[in-house]
């Protein structure tokens, strides 16, 4: 698989070139355009129908789309253009056997060498923290495409580092992490608008995004008609 990231950094898309039998899995709705020599399969889990209903339900509760789309080239040299919902960037991460923890909306696509688990509960209570975030865990070997709201910046953590949860795109799990209040008191943290932060410790790569999707949503939501 070859790839190109186009229209960086504000309206980025990934343009992939697949050879026959190469496959890519992405969130539903990510496909913008493609050649006709590509077949599409919609499942609730892994390609070939794995995953099953229960896993699909779990994913739905995690806030992610229940279904995944698998695109497989049936002929050589097929192009596939994938893009995220939000204005922002797309980056490629090569997974070499480790684990990458990705914020749900930051996962755009990955190839078949990568296993995506949306049932990861590493943050436990984070789901109920009001941040509206969920997380997926990617393991294996292969290509992952990450997307951000706004620009993406990489931080090579060596030691300690603190990031607001809404600004995390992904991080290598060689990093230890702990959810913390941003300020000293719980009330102070939420009044300060920082909510929960993640305190990293160790050595590893961290992808951050310049803008915070839940903050943006909370800014727009109240201006809309109630549902």
């Amino acid at each position: 698989m070859r790839y190109e990231i186009l229209a960086r950094p504000a309206a980025s898309v990934a343009k992939l070139t697949l050879d026959a039998n190469e496959s890519i899995t992405c969130e539903v709705g990510a496909m913008i355009a493609m050649s006709t020599g590509i077949s599409v399969e919609t499942t609730s889990g892994k390609k070939g129908g794995g995953g099953g209903f229960l896993k699909g339900m779990k994913r739905m509760f995690a806030g992610e789309n229940f279904f995944l789309n698998h695109f497989t080239a049936t002929q050589p040299d097929q192009t596939l253009i994938l893009g995220p919902t939000m204005l922002g960037d797309v980056v490629h991460h090569h997974l070499r056997g480790g684990t990458l923890v990705i914020q749900g909306s930051g996962w755009l696509a990955s190839d078949t060498g990568v296993t995506i688990d949306a049932t990861w509960q590493g943050f436990g209570k984070a789901i109920f923290s009001g941040e509206g975030l969920f997380w997926v865990k990617a393991t294996g070997q292969g290509s992952i495409f990450l997307s951000s709201f706004g620009a993406i910046y990489e931080v090579d953590v060596n030691g300690e580092y603190v990031v607001d949860t809404g600004h995390i795109v992904a991080f290598e799990d060689t990093l230890e992490f702990k959810l913390k209040k941003a300020g000293k008191s719980l009330i102070g943290s939420f009044l300060g608008g920082e909510g929960l932060v993640c305190r990293f410790n160790g050595t590893g790569k961290l992808y951050c995004q310049s803008h915070n999707p839940p903050s943006f949503g909370k800014l727009l939501g109240p201006k809309l008609k109630p549902r």
Partner: protein
């Protein structure tokens, strides 16, 4: 028709176009597209092409009204900006036609006619999808997008999600279908859950311009953030 003297800048995120006009020249734009202009130009709002054409434009998601900017006696400059941040392209029509997706028209010079193309079931079933305007004639045309515009040269066939089509040349044949590759038994599943319910399958030779973002995806994303209505 003399070609317009113009500059498109700030691509691809915040594209705008500045047109330098000579006395006697006219340019027609979507309402509210004018960002700034020299006072030597005059603007007139009106129903260009009469009621029937205006209504057609309305059905295609564009405004009934088209603003006309003319340089009467002195030269001048006008700058147009679309309502949504994104990209913009210029296309020169030479006794030819091009199709524009709903909402992507920005401005055109004299010699270009816009008309709505009723898609029949094609447009109807594509959901928000495919409502097209046809630009025909000889002159300059400007269209815009949400996100960047990518150009695709179709040699045989290509598939584009209906929501991401900005414009395409009329040398191409098109068909709105459910995502290909889905077996009939799976069609419903893909349609209901796949997100990419409807795609446009182009065939022939010609160019397609697609946008890298889709407003409706963004809207669906914002949706859950609305306040819930309290029954009082």
């Amino acid at each position: 028709m003399s070609e317009l003297d113009f500059t498109i800048s700030q691509r691809p995120e915040f594209a705008i176009v500045s047109v330098r006009m000579q006395p006697g020249q006219k340019i027609y734009s979507e309402p509210a597209a004018m960002a700034s202009m020299t006072p030597s130009l005059t603007m007139k709002a009106g129903l260009k092409g009469g009621w029937k054409k205006a209504l057609g434009r309305m059905f295609a998601g564009e405004s009934l009204v088209v603003n006309t900017f003319s340089a009467a006696t002195a030269p001048g400059e006008v700058t147009f900006a679309p309502g949504i941040p994104g990209d913009m392209l210029h296309y020169r029509l030479d006794n030819s036609s091009i199709y524009l997706q709903r909402g992507s028209f920005l401005a055109h010079s004299e010699g270009v006619e816009l008309s709505a193309k009723w898609q029949g079931a094609k447009g109807f079933f594509s959901g928000e999808g495919l409502v097209l305007l046809k630009a025909h004639g000889t002159g300059d045309l400007f269209f815009n997008s949400f996100g960047a515009i990518l150009e695709i040269d179709v040699a045989e066939e290509y598939v584009v999600d209906t929501g991401y089509i900005v414009a395409f040349e009329d040398t191409l044949d098109y068909k709105v279908v459910v995502l290909p590759g889905a077996r009939p038994s799976k069609t419903i599943k893909n349609f209901l859950f796949g997100g990419e319910g409807f795609v446009c399958r182009f065939s022939g030779q010609g160019k397609i311009w697609i946008q890298t973002r889709y407003v409706h995806s963004l809207l669906s994303w914002v949706f859950p953030f609305r306040p819930s209505s309290s029954k009082s």
